[in-house]
Amino acid sequence: MTDSTKKDVGGLTRRQFLGGVAAGAAVTAIPAPAIIKRASAADPIKVGVISPLTGAWTVYGRAHIAGFELAVKEINAAGGVLGRPIEILPADSQTEPRIVSEQANRLIRRERVDFLAGTFSSAERNAAGPVVEGADKVLLYPTFYEGQEQEYYPGVCNPNIFMFGPEPTQQVWPHLEYIVNNYGGKFFMIGSDYAWPRVTNMVTKQKLAELGGEVVGEEYIPFNTPQYESVLRDIRNSGADVIFHSLTGSDTVNFRQQLAAAGMKEDFVLWTVDDEEVVTSGLGQDVPANDYVSFDYFMSLKTANNGPFLERFKAEFGNDALMNTVGVAMYNAAHMSAKALEAAGEVSSEALRANLKGMTFDGAPQGPVRMREVDNQLVLPSYLMRVNPQWTSVNDMFIEVQGFESVEPLTARCEGLPL
C-alpha cells in the first residue's frame, strides 16, 4: 500500500463503510428482474472487473484484467451471450481492501453491473464478500488462495463467490511427497505476514507430518521489508532441507535476491507457492535457477489448449505480455460465466449460480476444469515445475517435474454445505 492510498481513504470511517454496505444491500429491494426485463436484446451484459492496477500489487494487475478481456473479446466475436455483447467495467482496487468495497458498491449500485469478477488478494476478496452478499451478486474470484474456512465468511463459504484458483490441497499437497523424498522433510517456512501464507502453511504442515516431515522454522515478514540478514541467519542455523516460500510482492524478490547473494542456494532447496511468470521474470536467470514452483497454470505448459491460447493472447496484448495462473483463472471465469448464462437463457445471479455449479470447461488453457457443486471450488490440474537455469523467455522458463490432470481439493470447511 502506498501512502497516497492511505491519504485517500484515511477518512473512511467504520460508520461510512457500513453505510455503504447498507446502501448496497438496499439495491436488492428494487426488484432486479424488472430492470433486466426492460433491457433490450442488444443491451450489453455488464461485468464489473476489479483489478490491482495501482499500489503494491500492480505487477499482477495486467495479466489479471488481460485474461478477462481476452475471453470477453472471444465471446463477443462469437455473437455474445443470448445475443447480447458483454461489456467490461474495469475498476482499480489500488491493492487496498477498503477501496475494493467502495468499488464493488459503486459498480453494483451506480453502474448496475450484472455480476463481478476479480479482486486479487484474500483481503480484497474478503472486503468484497459482504457487498456481494448484501446485493445478491455473484463474484468470480481468480487467485490461488488459502481455502475456505467458515471463520472467514462472507469472504469465503459464500454461495455468491466462485473460486477459480487453486487452494493449498491442490497447489501444495500433490507435490509434497516428491520434494520430501528427493530433498528431505525438514521445512523452513517463510511468508508474508497475512492470512494466505499463514493458512497455507498450516494446511501444508498437516500433510507434511503425515509424510514424516517436520517444520524446523517458521517466520512471517511484515510487508515492505528491505533487508533479510536475520532471517537468512535463522535459516542457515535451522538445519532445514527445504525453504517453503510464500512471500509476496516485492518482498519475494528482495528475499530471493539476498538469499542468492548470501551463497545459500547450494545448501537449500527453495519451493515457492507465490512466484509465477511475472516475479520470476523480475528475478533474472541466476537467482531463481532450479527453484521449485507449483501452480495450476504456467506459460511454459505444453497442453493442447495452451499453445493456441497464448497465440491469441499475444496477438491481442503483444509478444512480451505476461500471463499467469491468475490471468488464466480470469479467462476461465469469463468463459464459464458466459456459458452458464447462455444455458440458463436469462441473466441473473440465480441463473449464474445454478449453472456454474457442476460445469466443465474444456477450453481452459491448463486443461479441462470443473466447478465443484458442493463448495464452488474449481477442480483443476496441478503442476510442479523447476526454474530453467538457462531460461530465455516465459516459453522455456519452467521445466515440468510432475503434473496431475485433475486434482480434487479437500471439501471446504464451511457450514451448511452445499453452498
Partner: protein, 285 residues
C-alpha cells in the same frame, strides 16, 4: 563466538546499507531543512537509471552507477531551481511539493519503464569467507562504500572552508548572508548533493532488491526515522546511530522474537527515543 561474530556482521551490514539509503535525506532535511518527501522517488529514480544504464545503454555496472548518481543530482538541481528555492521559508509547502514530486515521478517511471519487476544481475556474485562466516560480497562492498561516502562528506563539512560556510548557514542564515555568503547558491549545491547521494544509494541497492516503481518507498519512512532519531544535521554520527537503531538493532530483537515483533519493537524504541530526546540522540540542547 562464531555466532556472535556473525551477528555483528549482520548488524553492520544492515546499519550501513540503511545509512546509505537515508544519507541523501540526512543532507537535504538536515542541512537545508526541506522535509523531502520526494526522497523515495529519488532512490527509485537512481535504481531505474542504473537499470537503464546496464540494460538499455549497455554500460558496465560501475559506470551505470555514476550515470545514475549524476542523473539524479541533475533532477534534484532542476527541482530545486524550478520549485524548492521559492519555498525555503515555507516548510509545510515544501512538504506538499516534494510529495507531489514523488507521485508525479512514480507515475512517470511507470509510464516510461512499465510496472513490471526489473532486475540487475548481482555485479559480484557469491560470498566471502571470513572466520568461517559467509559475507555476501556485493553487500559487503556496498556497506564499505556507504561508510566512505558518509565519512568523506562529513570530512568536507568539518574540515574545508566550503564546509564552514555550510555550517555557518545552518547556524544562522541571516548572519551568514550578511557576511557575504551566497545563500541561494549554497542551498542549491547542497540540494543537488543530497539528490545525488539518493541516486547513488538507489543505484547501489538496485541489484539487491526488486526494481519496481515503489522500490524507494520501502526506505522512505525508515530514512525519516534515521534522520530524526539520530539528530537533524548530524551527518556522520547521527546517520550511523539512527541507522543502527532503525535497521541494525532489528536483527538483535529478532534473536529473541519473530520478525513482526522485532520490527514493531524497533519503531516503538524510536518513539521512546523521540519522547525523551525530541532533538535526536546526538543534538545537545
Amino acid at each position: 563466538m562464531a555466532e556472535v561474530l556473525s551477528i555483528v556482521i549482520d548488524v553492520t551490514l544492515l546499519t550501513l546499507v540503511l545509512a546509505l539509503a537515508a544519507f541523501g535525506l540526512a543532507i537535504i532535511f538536515g542541512l537545508v531543512g526541506v522535509i523531502n518527501m520526494g526522497h523515495g522517488a529519488l532512490l527509485t529514480l537512481g535504481a531505474y537509471l542504473a537499470w537503464w544504464g546496464v540494460e538499455g545503454l549497455g554500460l558496465p555496472f560501475p559506470i551505470a552507477v555514476i550515470f545514475a548518481t549524476f542523473g539524479v543530482a541533475l533532477v534534484g538541481l532542476a527541482l530545486e531551481h524550478v520549485l524548492i528555492r521559492h519555498f525555503y521559508d515555507r516548510p509545510f509547502d515544501t512538504l506538499l511539493l516534494t510529495w507531489a514530486f514523488f507521485i508525479v515521478t512514480t507515475e512517470i517511471i511507470k509510464l516510461v519503464f512499465g510496472p513490471d519487476f526489473r532486475n540487475i544481475a548481482n555485479p559480484i556474485a557469491g560470498a566471502i569467507e571470513f572466520q568461517g562466516i559467509a559475507i555476501p560480497a556485493y553487500r559487503g562492498l556496498v556497506a564499505m562504500i556507504s561508510l566512505s561516502v558518509i565519512a568523506t562528506t562529513a570530512l568536507v563539512i568539518f574540515k574545508t572552508t566550503w564546509g564552514i560556510r555550510i555550517r555557518a548557514l545552518i547556524q544562522n542564515r541571516q548572519v551568514a548572508a550578511l557576511l557575504g555568503l551566497n545563500v541561494a547558491q549554497t542551498y542549491k549545491v547542497i540540494f543537488a548533493l543530497g539528490a545525488g547521494a539518493a541516486g547513488l544509494a538507489g543505484a547501489l541497492i538496485a541489484p539487491m532488491m526488486s526494481i519496481d516503481p515503489y522500490i524507494g518507498n520501502v526506505f522512505l519512512v525508515r530514512s525519516f526515522f534515521v534522520v530524526i532519531v539520530g539528530g537533524i544535521g548530524h551527518l556522520l554520527g547521527g546517520t550511523l546511530i539512527g541507522s543502527f537503531l532503525i535497521g541494525g538493532s532489528e536483527t538483535l530483537f529478532a534473536l529473541l522474537s519473530d520478525q513482526v515483533v522485532a520490527q514493531t519493537i524497533v519503531f516503538l524504541l524510536a518513539i521512546i527515543v523521540l519522547r525523551f530526546r525530541p532533538q535526536g540522540l546526538l543534538t545537545v540542547k
